[in-house]
């Protein structure tokens, strides 16, 4: 893996821990793995992204229904597949949003898609054509996995320091005009 890919992986891990902890979940990251074992029953969410220089990739999140239910309690205590898919889709959206906000001051603007989700039994994902790595987080004693895959353009513009525009506000903040 390239140094830039490793940087992106570190940023994603930081963003994920911040996100889960912002939802009151005790979280830690386990060592990265190449390919996790197939889950007996799980929800999968994915969002694609692109950069103006031609770089592109996706974030895939995989979690068991119990892991998702422990992360967020829906109204009415109804844990239907549709609701669990929606919750993981929104978490993947917030996670990629956080990665985007980390990258903005480094001169990289991600253009984000919207989440696609599915309920799966014995999920096995094919490997993407681009480099990828799985991260695993223990969240409220459940494992949530995230796969980052990125095809970097030759001149991916990741600056060493905060050279680009900073974000307007941080997560959880509000600006009134």
């Amino acid at each position: 893996m390239s140094a830039v890919f490793n940087d992106l992986e570190r940023m994603l891990a930081t963003a994920a821990i911040d996100l889960f902890e912002a939802h009151g979940a005790a979280t830690w990251k386990t060592p990265s793995v190449e390919q996790p074992h197939a889950e007996a029953e799980c929800i999968v969410a994915t969002i694609g992204f692109a950069v103006a220089d031609g770089s592109k990739g996706s974030l895939v999140m995989v979690a068991s229904p119990a892991a998702i239910a422990a992360l967020h309690t829906p109204d009415g205590d109804e844990h239907s597949e549709m609701i669990l898919c929606d919750i993981l889709g929104e978490f993947s959206n917030m996670l990629l949003g956080r990665l985007k906000n980390i990258l903005l001051p480094r001169g990289v603007t991600l253009m984000l898609g919207t989440p696609t989700t599915a309920y799966a039994l014995k999920l096995r994902l094919s490997s993407p054509f681009s480099p990828c790595r799985w991260l695993a987080f223990v969240v409220n004693d459940h494992v949530i996995r995230a796969r980052l895959d990125v095809a970097l353009a030759k001149d991916f513009p990741l600056a060493d320091d905060a050279a680009g525009p900073s974000t307007t506000a941080r997560e959880g903040e509000m600006i009134l005009f």
Binding site: D75, E90, G97, N101, L104, G113, R170, E171, M174
Partner: protein, 126 residues
């Protein structure tokens, strides 16, 4: 009569969270799942005093919805607060250019949203 708020987000989880926060403060919530749906819902609920709207959504995103909304004379001044994971300055500037009144970055703090809703709905009523 209770003030009515239109919540536009493709995530049911976010709509529930907003509904819970604003419902506890006596707002009545109308839900829409994207910008296209929101344009339909607001025509049926022209007494909406505030719109809380996501940015990235399928079919029609929040900023395109806001632009379309401002072309309808009766909704030129209805307050809109964007609720999103995005913090990109040019997106914030675009929303402000279309007359949005606020920008909240998810996950939101319920008390901040309620305070904004009370302030903005009061200004709409005045």
């Amino acid at each position: 009569m209770a003030s009515k708020v239109l919540v536009v987000d493709d995530s049911m989880m976010v709509r529930q969270q907003v509904k819970r926060a604003l419902g506890a403060a006596d707002f009545v919530i109308v839900e829409a799942q994207d910008g296209m749906d929101a344009l339909e819902k607001i025509m049926q609920n022209q007494d909406v005093c505030l719109i809380v709207c996501d940015v990235n959504m399928p079919r029609m995103g929040g900023l395109d919805f806001l632009e379309a909304l401002r072309k309808i004379p009766v909704f030129v001044s209805v307050p809109v607060v964007m609720l999103t994971t995005e913090a990109q300055p040019d997106l914030v500037a675009r929303a402000k250019g279309f007359g949005a009144k606020g920008w909240i970055i998810k996950p939101f703090k319920p008390e901040l949203l309620v305070a904004a809703a009370q302030k903005l709905s009061a200004s709409k009523a005045a």
